[in-house]
Symmetry: C2
Subunit: 233 residues, 2 copies
């Protein structure tokens, strides 16, 4: 159980601020604990699972900043939410296209794999660290010619100001998964890094299902929080 001791030792060094934002190389750390890289990586991976460290692919290990508090029942756009918590947000548009959805998405939006949907992919940063890939699938019937708009604004603002649609109800799901493929790459993560997956189905003020969100978060970058009035029997 050597790796547990190493884990605790590294954690103490993190807490006491002896390590910078970036950890020393695996070889140096392994040597300093008198062990092999495999065992050292076991310890680092544990700290990664616990959300105390994160990796950037081939760049090394870093200490995780405070997570963003994320309330799925709040429509506040990402930039406003981040700034309210003293963070510096930034977004990059990855793509905006009209596509035929796969079966899973078609089912979510109660349409077919033959009916095209708008798909908007974004990469969002916190303090210059990429933390989430967000994919929106949007029903075109409610938003004609959406692709001609300027996506520097958030979707909820575009919906409200250009189409008079206001998010009013959401059905969200949260589960854990791991990052793969282009999502992992965009987040500078190694394939297999732990992730938090948030799926949202959004309804407008007339109770029409208008779009869905698929969000893949670096799992240490987010803490879901909400206040709820309980439904009693």
């Amino acid at each position: 159980m050597q790796y547990l001791k190493i884990k605790d030792a590294i954690f103490e060094q993190i807490e006491s601020g002896q390590l910078g934002q970036k950890l020393p190389s695996e070889r140096k750390l392994a040597e300093s604990f008198n062990t092999t890289r495999i065992t050292l990586r076991e310890a680092l991976s544990l700290l990664e699972s616990e959300g105390k460290l994160f990796r950037e692919d081939r760049r090394g290990w870093f200490i995780s900043p405070q997570p963003l508090i994320y309330d799925p029942t709040n429509t506040t756009e990402f930039p406003a939410m981040a700034m309210a918590q003293g963070r510096n947000p930034r977004s990059e548009l990855l793509s905006a296209e009209l596509v035929k959805p796969n079966k899973q998405i078609a089912q979510l939006l109660q349409t077919t794999t033959e009916d095209e949907l708008y798909r908007i992919k974004r990469l969002r940063f916190l303090d210059n660290r990429p933390v989430v890939v967000v994919t929106n699938y949007i029903l075109p019937s409610f938003f004609p010619n959406l692709l001609e708009t300027d996506f520097t604004h958030s979707l909820s603002i575009i919906y409200r100001e250009q189409f008079n649609r206001i998010y009013s109800k959401t059905r969200y799901r949260v589960s854990t998964t791991s990052l793969t493929g282009s999502t992992a790459t965009a987040l500078r993560a190694t394939a297999g890094s732990p992730a938090m997956f948030v799926e949202r189905l959004n309804y407008d003020q007339y109770n029409n299902l208008i779009d869905c969100d698929l969000e893949y978060w670096r799992h240490d970058a987010i803490c879901i929080q909400s206040l709820a009035t309980l439904k009693n029997a």
Copy 2:
């Protein structure tokens, strides 16, 4: 990237039902893919992160059953919730004591580390698989002599029927972490297994903070889901 191919191959075998509920031994699997145990375990760990497989410590690898849909805004007790989804629930009381809380808990419940609290630990099973360790910290002022009650019933029923307190509001947080120590052992998990952590602060019908829940779930056993009316600016 051999382990990615192995991962996909194992996943296909899972989907097509070629594997039983329990996987063959690591040595056999490694041999069948012409690789070493280390690489094979890399592939299995990925599937574990994705929630498709889980491990029981020294017992082997198993295919994950469907996750339980868990709505944090619903007070339905665990047994009722599980049965409504066609699952077979069971609970074990691990301990029920009066203890001094640590700093974190004291802060959560707005008390001090000197004031004792009831602490109730439970292990919950789904279809005979241990899936979550739940720890409740309860403010004794609202529930005199709580420890003398029979804990075969759920807490919310005891609160309602013996103390006239009804859960009416909750502040919940969801994050990911990993299992360690006695929590891991209770869940038959290896230290470091990925986990979903749910923290709840519960209020009664008079808006008094009455208790908190700390829940460590095997991450593949749960999918958080809720419906929310959005708070618009």
